[in-house]
Subunit: 136 residues, 2 copies
């Protein structure tokens, strides 16, 4: 009985584990990029062709609502997903190749906290995306 980190979280949350969810969880756990729904549909179907696109969408939504996945909307019109990591990071997107690079910067995090606090707010989440091109 091979379990992955996502499946463990599902069980913790009391989510019913169907074959479809197990496969989607496995694909997500082993994806090191930021796939969209269609791409996940393609990847899961190589393992089990009984998974519909609708189920992929429903499962992504469920996992996102349960704090298992992060949903990103970079500027290409489709949502991309990533398993939630221990350490928060932001993204730099190469607008020529679409490549996504992750980075961390504690100082920026703190500055955001300070800005929100000065405006009388508590941060729920934030989004920092840098769209850039390779230096020539």
């Amino acid at each position: 009985m091979i379990e992955n980190i996502i499946e463990k979280k599902c069980i913790q949350k009391g989510l019913k584990m169907t074959d479809q969810r197990r496969v989607i969880a496995r694909v997500l756990a082993t994806s090191k990029d930021h796939p969209d729904a269609e791409e996940l549909y393609n990847r899961t179907n190589k393992i089990n062709s009984q998974i519909s696109l609708a189920t992929v969408y429903r499962t992504l939504k469920l996992f996102n609502e349960n704090g298992i996945l992060e949903k990103h909307e970079f500027r290409d019109g489709k949502s991309r997903y990533e398993t939630i990591q221990k350490d928060h990071h932001d993204h730099l997107i190469d607008i020529e190749t679409g490549k996504v690079i992750e980075f961390q910067n504690e100082e920026i995090e703190k500055l955001q906290e300070r800005i929100a606090s000065e405006l009388g707010y508590d941060i729920i989440e934030h989004r920092l995306e840098i769209y850039a091109i390779k230096q020539k």
Copy 2:
């Protein structure tokens, strides 16, 4: 002949000034919020009911491509527009009310430049959005 700043920019860029574009430009120039296409359609139609939603979309795209408008995609599924200001700013979105607060922070800008540079990139644009709730 009453002109606004947007209309001036259009003329500078050599864009043909139709009645529709003039009305849309006027509405944008006097909007202090971040309206979406449908909302702009409603506002322009109070002035001239001969403007179609398709033309609003086409004009927003045109203005955006010509550096007249900024297009934002906050997390509500529709694009919002704002005239480009002299000084760059980012946004804090009150997720309970939808209110958008603008803020500036030079330090964050510089940190981003440094991060991109260290990764070998030049920034084309960036997006920093803080989603927050009022402190209790």
